[in-house]
Amino acid sequence: MKKNIIGILGLLIAIFVITAVLNPKFISAYNMQNLVKWSSLYAIMGVGVAFVIITGGIDLSIGSVIGLTASLLAFTLGKNWDPAVAICAMLGLSALIGLVHGLLVTKAKLQPFVVTLCGLLIYRGMARWVTDNQSMGFKGHDQLNEIFSGKIPITDTFALPMPFVFLVVISVAAALFLNRTIWGRYLLALGNNEEGARYSGIQTDNLKIAAYVICSLLAGISGILFAFELDSVQPAQTGEFYELYAIAAAVLGGCSLRGGEGGILGVIIAAAVIRLIYNSINMLGISTHLEYAILGIVILVGVVADELLKRYTAKRAAR
């Protein structure tokens, strides 16, 4: 697992250095602050989907869950709900969504792809319908804004964005869960070989459900963070396609779609790589029309390099 991180970390450093050399303004405190902020926002979803991918599943509904929680948060706050209640309701709702996904996958034995694809459509539709598809903002919620998108000054020029604080707390908890608890071990075991795990006395269904709950819950948290970062929510658009960024980060970060493989740090670094690519494209003045192509190529190169590295080390270990 450590080897995966070396590859992706190398990629991060390489793009970082190249961009910094070509445009020194890239390493300004302001830009670093932005980079950290966006990387954190996307990494949180990536960490979530990593859990589901480790079980051998997939969650395509992340973007829609982001859209739904962001929309309903703005909607309920607009209806003068108590902010604490509204936030808790959003977290509860997203956890509930994950629970439903998990139950459908384990008990009804539906394919995760199908379940979450339907989720993608349903939550997006609900978000639009409940909110009447109105764009909404967060006027008069300065305190919430401070909590979710504020900044903690570090130096005169550099301040730590709140999403980063959230990411640190979430990723430390996630890494502890995955690497230090028996359930994390079970999750890796069942991702590798579900039957084998079951034969060893592991309640595989419960763990899979937990993975979907974690994924949707983190998507819900992302939704809240994105809502306050952008100060406005469009029910039809907020979070659209973000599941693909999340999945890309998880895969680039060393999670195998076959399951059983993955680490938290790798996913976070991969999310940073993806945001770094966007930032570099702007910094170097490359046409925004080329963005997707560059992103696709870099992810492909990263995944191929990772695979080659793995084979090389396996060969050396075999010798």
């Binding site: 028996i182 071990r185 890796l188 590798n192 039957e195 084998g196 034969y199 060893s200 006395g201 059983g260």
Partner: protein, 502 residues
């Protein structure tokens, strides 16, 4: 001595390596015209590898093959077939949705002007079917035939390719007694027609009945040959295991203690109409014999909660016991080393350490957190106690040999000190040395008071290890044989559905 005749088939110095395993080394074989040669040996002795090379399924690393004295090289099944060598697989390769004639000529249909010549097709198919004693309409669908007859179709198909050497790999493993006897008749007929047969079997009784000569393989090498007059059970076993039977199994006398596991009219989902009752006592080793598909694995899976029972009662040490999943069975003191180690026994990609500790993690947890010290201890103990050969605890189990993989599975369970140990084909695919260790371990555990219930397709193993044997047939217990009643013939009779004479 008669003048030397050129053998139909001769093999010299055949060698084959797989990663980490020497499957064959300097294997030799000769086969005369119209001869039935039985090839026997333990699992993993190299029989299947040898046959696959002969049939062109895989190439040899070293060695030569001669047909009628001419050196040949088979790059594919097609090339072997062109030289008259055909393999009848354990798993039949017929298309169930096609009729007999179509199956026999699949890919070689007689044709006129690009259209299939149905008249010729069926006429010729009928002729080949008659040679194997099948008097059936050639438009019968293969899927409608019982397995024994499908096998005959497969043989007819080989004959239609003008095969001179038929290789049969465990042809009776899923046949009834009657079907087996039909097959033997066909084999004798073919021999009379001058066709040679290489016959691979575990069933030494069959071999004695059928073979002109016996070749014994052990650990990929020739262990010896027996000519017609020398073929008897003990001689074959001695060559197979390399020493006398008693010494190999190293059995001690057990004194069964209290009742620990009890099944009363238990029905498994696989055979919901068959009720099974059995009792298992402390310190007892009980074998379950039967044909492939007779419901042995399913019985173990039901006891272990993998597929919960659909009726009847179970009791563990007198307490009602109805596991809905393996976890509940494990908590009640059971453990299962499953038949399919790679799918069910291990998490192959994970390390020895992680596999050995997987079942005991929750016992050793500290408020949900992993206890790395306890894990290290469990894994170290398993490696030491079972003499698992691994460079270190962090080696992925996929890189271990079959025997060592099986030891890791056992180590995982022994850490929990189970009261009942279920073993499904415990020695499948492991070498003779590891087998001996496995038998010693079973003895040791029984002496320590573990009740052992094991399923085995190797009769020798059941005869050698079991205090008593349960024989299954079509999901039911066909009978129970005490130690002094145990014989190959008795087991086979029950396994094929024939009641024992009183």
């Amino acid at each position: 001595m008669a003048a030397p005749v050129t053998p139909l088939l001769e093999v010299r110095g055949l060698g084959k390596r797989f990663p980490g395993v020497r499957a064959l080394h300097d294997a030799r074989l000769t086969l005369g015209h119209g001869e039935v040669l039985a090839v026997i040996g333990e699992n993993g002795a190299g029989k299947s590898t040898l046959m696959k090379i002969l049939a062109g399924v895989q190439p040899a690393d070293t060695g030569e093959i001669f047909i009628d004295g001419q050196p040949v090289q088979f790059q594919s099944v097609r090339e072997a077939l062109a030289q008259g060598v055909a393999l009848i697989h354990q798993e039949l390769n017929l298309a169930a949705n096609l009729d007999l004639a179509a199956n026999i000529f699949l890919g070689r249909e007689p044709h006129k002007f690009g259209f299939i010549d149905h008249a010729t097709l069926h006429a010729e198919a009928e002729e080949h079917l008659r040679r194997v004693g099948l008097d059936l309409p050639t438009d019968t669908l293969v899927g409608d035939l019982p397995i024994g007859r499908q096998q005959l179709v497969e043989i007819a198909k080989a004959l239609s390719c003008e095969a001179r050497v038929l290789i049969m790999d465990e042809p009776t493993s899923s046949l009834s007694q009657h079907e087996s006897e039909t097959l033997f008749e066909v084999v004798r007929d073919l021999r009379a027609q001058g066709i040679s047969v290489i016959y691979i079997s575990h069933r030494l009784g069959e071999v004695t009945e059928l073979a002109d000569r016996v070749l014994v393989l052990r650990d990929g090498e020739n262990a010896g040959e027996l000519s017609r007059g020398e073929i008897n059970h003990d001689a074959m076993v001695r060559l197979m295991v390399g020493r006398d039977l008693e010494q190999f199994y190293d059995r001690k006398q057990h004194d069964p203690g209290d009742l620990v596991l009890e099944l009363e009219d238990v029905r498994t989902p696989a055979h919901p109409h068959a009720e099974i009752s059995l009792q298992l006592r402390v310190g007892e080793i009980v074998g379950i014999a039967g044909l492939v598909g007779s419901g042995r694995t399913e019985l173990l899976q039901t006891i272990f909660g993998v597929t919960p029972s659909v009726g009847g009662q179970m009791r563990m040490a007198g307490e009602p016991f109805a596991p809905r999943n393996p976890r509940e069975a494990i908590r009640a003191g059971l453990a299962l080393a499953p038949e399919d180690r790679k799918q069910h026994g291990l998490i192959l990609q994970m390390a020895v350490r992680e596999n050995a500790s997987l079942a005991s993690l929750s016992r050793d947890q500290q408020n949900g957190f992993l206890n790395f010290n306890a894990e290290e201890k469990v894994a170290t103990e398993a490696v030491e106690q079972l003499a698992i050969k691994t460079p270190n605890l962090d080696q992925a189990t996929v890189n271990l040999s079959g025997g060592n993989q099986q030891k890791v599975v056992l180590g995982k369970w022994l850490a929990l000190k189970p009261r009942v140990l279920l073993l499904d084909e415990p020695t499948r695919g492991i070498d003779v040395g590891a087998k001996r260790e496995m038998y010693r371990l079973m003895e040791q555990l029984a002496a320590d008071g573990v009740a052992i219930l094991f399923v085995s397709s190797e009769l020798e193993e059941v005869l050698g290890m079991a205090d008593r044997a349960l024989v299954m047939h079509e999901g039911r217990l066909a009978g129970e044989l005490a130690r002094d009643q145990l014989s190959e013939q008795a087991v086979m009779q029950l396994a094929t559905g024939t009641p024992l004479a009183a």
